[in-house]
Subunit: 207 residues, 2 copies
Amino acid sequence: KIPDATIKRLSLYCKELRVLSNEGMEVVLSKDLANRLDLNPTQVRKDLSYFGKFGRRKRGYDVSELLANLSEILGITTDNKIGIFGLGNLGRALLNFKGFSVRGFYVAALFDVDPAKIGSTLFGKQCYALSDAQEIVKKEGIKIAVLAVPDGAAQDVMDVILGCGIKSILNFTQRHVVVPEDVMIRSVDFTDKLELLAYFSRSKSNG
Amino acid sequence: KIPDATIKRLSLYCKELRVLSNEGMEVVLSKDLANRLDLNPTQVRKDLSYFGKFGRRKRGYDVSELLANLSEILGITTDNKIGIFGLGNLGRALLNFKGFSVRGFYVAALFDVDPAKIGSTLFGKQCYALSDAQEIVKKEGIKIAVLAVPDGAAQDVMDVILGCGIKSILNFTQRHVVVPEDVMIRSVDFTDKLELLAYFSRSKSNG
Ligand SMILES: NC(=O)c1ccc[n+]([C@@H]2O[C@H](COP(=O)([O-])OP(=O)(O)OC[C@H]3O[C@@H](n4cnc5c(N)ncnc54)[C@H](O)[C@@H]3O)[C@@H](O)[C@H]2O)c1
Ligand SMILES: NC(=O)c1ccc[n+]([C@@H]2O[C@H](COP(=O)([O-])OP(=O)(O)OC[C@H]3O[C@@H](n4cnc5c(N)ncnc54)[C@H](O)[C@@H]3O)[C@@H](O)[C@H]2O)c1
């Protein structure tokens, strides 16, 4: 079993390889890739060794070949179908996030409880009633849920998502939601970063 | 000097204390607070000791008193003025984020380069031209910038923000931007979490 930390670093390597390829670099040494990410070159080589040989010649890895290999491993090349639960301010912003399609993520359906939103189409995506989630998740092959409902509704909607058989959830609410062992949930919270920045800006201005 | 890691934990303690106070808890032991956050009770006591005595009696900390003290230290009680740079999908969603006002953050001004947006008012906030940033940041006392412009414009707009004397930046772009030593930047990126979730959901379905 490959450690989560290695998978997380793979997505960092992909991000950096995309930047390198945009800059026109054709070859990269593990030590250069490591330097750009503040990592140890041995760690980079160890991570990549989990997945076999990448034809590393004396002069380094081929940028586009390594990017294609790692994208395949991360599943960036296949369509990862996403369902967005909660079509409010944040849900609508995520609908337009260009970073999804570039990484092989495809928003397949939207879910809400607001009658004014149910049945509408936004940027080509259909908004369904939460009560239809089980049928739509199955029909569309949705594997990942994005939770963007108000904090108070977080656990209830999470239970609906779990009832649809979804095992991977990206949680934007500020609530700590309970999930069974075999489900992976990752929460996005930037308020602790904001509070740290506020503390820093105050200590700066007091000179 | 208090370590960043301690300040970050303070904001975790505040979050938990708010939940406790909503649940009607009046007193909390450091070991209970630690358990709720998967931390070591000694770490909690050590963090709090940086800031003096909180009247810890044998029976624990007073929830509302500790919350008020920590909020004061984090500056949650004072108005932290924010400027949002880039009034696109994400910028507009952030404008409505209820989590700002509850933590003492106040969006003071918006900045964009799109003529259709400049001069407009959204949810009571005025959108200014980026070229007026220096004057408006000073007039409004903006201390924190939120960067929500397209990736390609990230470094240019960052240079404008630094030119306004702002030292704290929350970066939502996917670009790695360069800032001087005395400036703090924190980036928000959930795509690595999304790729990990996609990898997990694929390994699950191949059962
Ligand atoms: N707006 C932001 O920038 C932002 C940033 C970070 C986190 N968040 C978090 O994201 C969540 C959504 O925030 P928002 O600003 O979009 O709120 P919002 O109120 O604009 O949107 C919430 C949406 O969820 C829908 N909804 C309510 N109950 C539901 C239920 N039981 N099932 C399905 N849909 C339901 C509502 O109809 C609405 O469309 C919140 O938990 C918030 O803390 C928001
Ligand atoms: N949409 C999302 O859910 C989301 C999520 C995470 C991160 N992001 C990141 O946030 C940023 C904004 O994304 P978006 O979806 O809101 O894009 P968008 O294209 O909807 O909005 C960009 C806004 O920035 C303005 N702008 C362009 N150049 C500018 C400049 N030089 N100075 C000031 N304003 C300028 C545009 O006029 C527009 O209003 C991107 O970097 C993106 O990667 C977006």
